[in-house]
Each structure stands twice: as C-alpha cells, then as structure tokens.
C-alpha cells in the first residue's frame, strides 16, 4: 500500500544542511497498522510527512497504492492526498468552525452536495461518539474529543490510509487508550492502512502489527511487533522496550554477583517469555513435578501485545547440577523463549 524507496531528506537550516532522513526504505502492506517509533528529533515526522508529500524528499520514491506520488503534478497530488487522511498531535482543527463544519471541510473542498455532506458528517460523528457535539466549537471540547473530531475529519474523504503523527502524545494515558482503541476499531472496520508515529512503546504494543525503530534518520530495526518485543536486536530498541517491561531482579538479588558457571551453594536464574498459546502451558508445574528441584518465582508479569498474550517470568532453579541440566533441556524444548541469566549465591552475601 505504501512503499518508501531510498528516501532521503535534507533540510536547509541557518546552521547548514540537516540530514533528517538518510536512505530509508519501508514497505507497508494494506490493512496493516504500522508503527514508527523513535526519540524526539529522530526524523519520524519528516518520514510520515514524506508519505503525503507535505515534505518532499530530497531523493527517493514514494509509492502509494501503486502510484508514484513523487512524480505527480500539483493537482494530481492534491487528488492523491484525498485518499490519505492525517491526524496530528495538536489536532489542527479550525477554531472558527464548529465540529460539524470541521468534519465537513474535506467534503466542501470537492463541492459535495449538501445532503451527502450531512449524511457523511453525522455518520462519522456517530462513529467517533460525538454526534451530540456537532454544533460546538473546538475550544469547548477536551483533548480527546478534539482528536476524535480530527479522526472524523480525516475519514470524511474515505481515505485508504490514515497517518497519525503523535496523535496521542498530547493526551493523558486514559484518553490515549480510548483514542488508540478507536484507531484500532477503524482499522478493522474500514480496512484502513494506518501509520502510527510515536515516541511511546506502549502505543506500538497496544495497536501496531509491525514496527520500525528509527534513530538519527535511519531505521535501526523493523519487523513484527511481537518479534521485536520478544527479541530486540538493537540497544535503542531494548531501551524503548525496557521502559515497558521491568527486567529487574527482585531487590535481594540485584547486588549478588551473577556468574556464568555454577559454584557451591548457587542457584540458576532463568527468564522465560511465553507468547500466545504457550502462555497457557503449565511449564512451571511440570518443572516442579518432574524434576527434583526447588523452583522459585522471582518475577512475573502478564501483558498483551495487540491482543496476543505475552507473559514473562524470572525463576530460580535450585538442586543438583544434573537435575538443573535435565530441567533446562526440558524447558528449551517448550515453545517459549528461555534466557539464562546466570548463577547466583543462594544466600544474600551482604547480610551475613
């Protein structure tokens, strides 16, 4: 649906040229919710604005729905933009127009008949839950309501793509949840392709199918959200994920030395990650029943990544080395991710 090929964007600034995007290529399939995450200044907004040419790439080709939009004339481009809706961090609604008139705006641009406008606007206001606010002005609405108007307006021209540039960054966590849910519903209902720009991993985790991590104008890592979450490769990705997943050992264990090899009076610590169906496997109870080991649970969390259950456990295995080895070969055969943290002393050395 969207194909970015070798996009580069250089801005001229008073202090010299700024390379905001360096040779980015990205493919986004129809119906996908694609997340682009990065720190402030990484080039996210520049990249998303290259999709509707609000920003023209210095070089590279942008193909949307099979058409090379970088080669289009101004009027062809305006036409193409009607099938790409966009919502913004600061909503960008007309302050002088009512909710109704804001949503009607794209339809009036093409001189749609009055009855058609009325039908469409009311239908969209219904969809975003603001039918009773039609005659209010944006200044009378809350942030979440303003973004709902923004979404309704973006959908008025029946686009195939929805671009969201930090659409929830100005909203509180609860409102963010409800806006994300709305975007997810729209994606499912209208088969819309959605591009989500954010600096929050929570947003990616809640609604995205795929993610690209962008850092200093290049893509550091990309793939399915589940894969990137469970198996991040780049430090920047790990950084983003760590904000969400506390990897910490319980307090008493943090200051104990972790060794790769067993030593007298040591325990083995491992981290297990359960994804999807495997989250239902009774691995722990089998470990306890089938092996002569003391199994301790030090940390546990259950989460979901776009509706796929995702559980994490840190457990300790205490017993003879032979039993530990047998247990390890058992867990490694299970459909879950196993990471060996290492051996630590059974006793807290600082409290002798």
């Amino acid at each position: 649906m969207i194909d970015l090929s070798h996009i580069e964007k250089i801005y001229d600034s008073p202090s010299g040229p700024v390379k905001a995007i360096k040779d980015i290529s990205l493919h986004i399939n129809k119906g996908e919710i694609y997340g682009i995450i990065g720190l402030s200044g990484a080039g996210k907004s520049t990249l998303v604005r290259c999709i509707n040419l609000l920003e023209r790439p210095t070089s590279g080709v942008v193909t949307v729905d099979g058409q090379d939009i970088t080669a289009m004339s101004e009027s062809q481009l305006r036409q193409a933009r009607k099938s790409i809706g966009m919502i913004f961090q600061h909503f960008n609604l007309l302050s002088s127009a009512t909710v109704y008139d804001n949503v009607a705006f794209p339809l009036r641009l093409v001189n749609a008949p009055k009855e058609k406008i009325h039908k469409k606007v009311m239908e969209l206001l219904e969809l975003v839950g603001l039918a009773n606010k039609a005659d209010q002005y944006p200044s009378q609405l809350s942030g979440g309501q303003k973004q709902r108007v923004g979404i309704a307006r973006a959908l008025a021209s029946e686009p195939k793509i929805l671009l969201c540039d930090e659409a929830t960054s100005a909203l509180d966590p609860q409102t963010t949840k409800s806006i994300l849910q709305l975007i997810k519903d729209i994606n499912a209902k209208l088969k819309l392709t959605v591009v989500v720009i954010t600096h929050e991993m929570q947003v990616i985790k809640d609604i995205c199918d795929k993610v690209a991590v962008i850092d200093k104008g290049v893509i550091a890592e990309k793939g399915r959200v589940l894969d990137v979450f469970t198996n991040p490769q780049q430090p920047i990705t790990k950084e983003f994920i760590s904000v969400l997943l506390s990897n910490d050992l319980p307090v008493g264990f943090r200051e104990r030395e972790v060794k790769a090899e067993p030593f007298p009076d040591s325990l083995l610590l491992i981290r297990l990650t359960f994804i999807g169906e495997s989250a239902n496997e009774p691995v722990i109870s089998k470990l306890i029943k089938n092996f002569d080991l003391e199994v301790g649970i030090l940390f546990g969390s259950l989460d979901d990544i776009k509706d796929v259950p995702f559980g994490r456990l840190i457990i300790s295995l205490d017993g003879s080395q032979e039993e530990i080895d047998k247990a390890m070969s058992y867990v490694e055969k299970q459909e879950l991710k196993v990471e060996v943290i290492g051996y630590v002393s059974r006793h807290d050395s600082t409290h002798h």
Binding site: A80, R81, N92, S95, S96, L109, P138
Partner: protein, 217 residues
C-alpha cells in the same frame, strides 16, 4: 449655541461618514488581498515567491512612511486624473484610500501570520488548493483579528479625513477649520470635537463587539 449649527454639523458629519465609509470599503477591497499576498508569498507559505513578496513589501513600506499631509498634497495630480478635481469630498478619498491600503495590508498580514501553521498543513494534507486555503482557512481563522485591526484603520481614517477636509474636502475637519478657527466660532469647534470623539467611540465599540462575537477560540 445657535440654530445654524445643527444643520452645519449634520451635513459635515454626513460627509465624514461618507468619506470614511467609502474609503474604507475601497481600501479593504484592495488592502485585504494585498495582505493575503504579503502573507502567502512569504517564505515557506503556500504561494512562496520572494520577488513578489519583496516588491510588495517595499511599496507598502514606502507609502506608509509618507506622512498623510504630505501624501495628500503630493498626489494631487493623480487625484485630478482620477476624479477630475483636487477638491471636494470625493477627491479627498483618493489620498485616504491610498494611505489606508498599505496599512490594511500590513494589518491583515499580521493577523494571518498568527494562525498556527499546523492548521494550514492539515488543509494541505486534505488536498486543498491555495485558493481554498485562503478562503476557507486563512481568512475565517483570522477574521476576529482582522476585524479588530480594521477597526483601528477606520479610526485613523476618521482622523485623516479631518485633515483632508481641512484642505477643502468637506466633512468635520473642514467645518472646524472654516467656522471654528477662521470665523471664531468656539461653539462649533467644540461641537465638532465632541462629534469626532463620539464617532471614534462608536466605531471602537462596534469593532470590539464584532471581533468578540466572531472569536470562537
């Protein structure tokens, strides 16, 4: 106070209102599009064009730097050409319009510049043409500000029209000079001043009220 004063004042007031109102209408018809051009041809705006922007800016600055009294006298040949005479109420409107056009242009430009650029971007993202952006985004969004600014222009027009009147343009300024000053009629002088003060107050009040009503922010 004498009985002859009332018709004199009413007539002069009518002339002033006529001069100011018609000058304002004509000046706005030219000045508002000028302001739109000044704004939209600037860097990073929807009709970016450095040449037009620089030329218009220079002309506007040049006209604005000429004091009204001098402008009025300097353009007498132009006034003759346009209205066939250099005295009278209609003739006085030529310098009034000429002085107000760049003033309005700058005021409108300033009002437009205050619109957050994200709003224009959103319209561009929806496929709006530059003309649609001007008529459906920029002007409606800036309207409360433009009204407030134009109020100021009307008030300065009242003052300038009095000056124009003094050199034979009719209106309250003319009356004050001919009767109040040259014929030693302090009652007419005072009455003229009072009427001018009331006119300015009314314009300011109406302008504020309208701007407030339009402002939905």
């Amino acid at each position: 106070m004498s009985a002859d004063m009332i018709p004199l004042i009413t007539k002069a007031m009518g002339e002033t209102v006529y001069m100011v109102a018609l000058s304002m209408v004509i000046a706005s018809i030219i000045g508002v599009p000028l302001g739109v051009l000044l704004h939209t041809t600037a860097k990073n705006q929807i009709l970016e064009c450095a040449v037009i922007n620089k030329v218009l800016g220079a002309v506007v600055n040049a006209v604005r730097s000429i004091p009204f009294v001098i402008l009025m006298v300097a353009i007498i040949p132009l006034t003759r050409l346009l209205v066939g005479s250099s005295i009278g109420t209609t003739a006085a409107m030529v310098p009034l319009v000429l002085a107000s056009v760049p003033f309005i242009g700058r005021q409108v430009e300033t009002s437009l510049r205050e619109i957050p650029e994200g709003i224009v971007e959103a319209a561009q993202a929806m496929g709006a043409t530059p003309m649609q952006i001007i008529t459906k985004v920029l002007l409606p969004e800036a309207m409360p500000n433009i009204v407030a600014q134009l109020t100021t222009v009307v008030i300065s027009l009242v003052g300038e029209s009095a000056m124009a009147g003094a050199i034979g343009g009719g209106g309250l300024g003319d009356l004050a000079i001919r009767y109040g000053y040259q014929r030693f009629r302090p009652d007419i002088m005072i009455a003229t001043v009072v009427v001018l003060i009331i006119m300015v107050q009314v314009v300011q009040f109406a302008g504020n009220a309208l701007a407030k009503k339009l402002d939905k922010r």
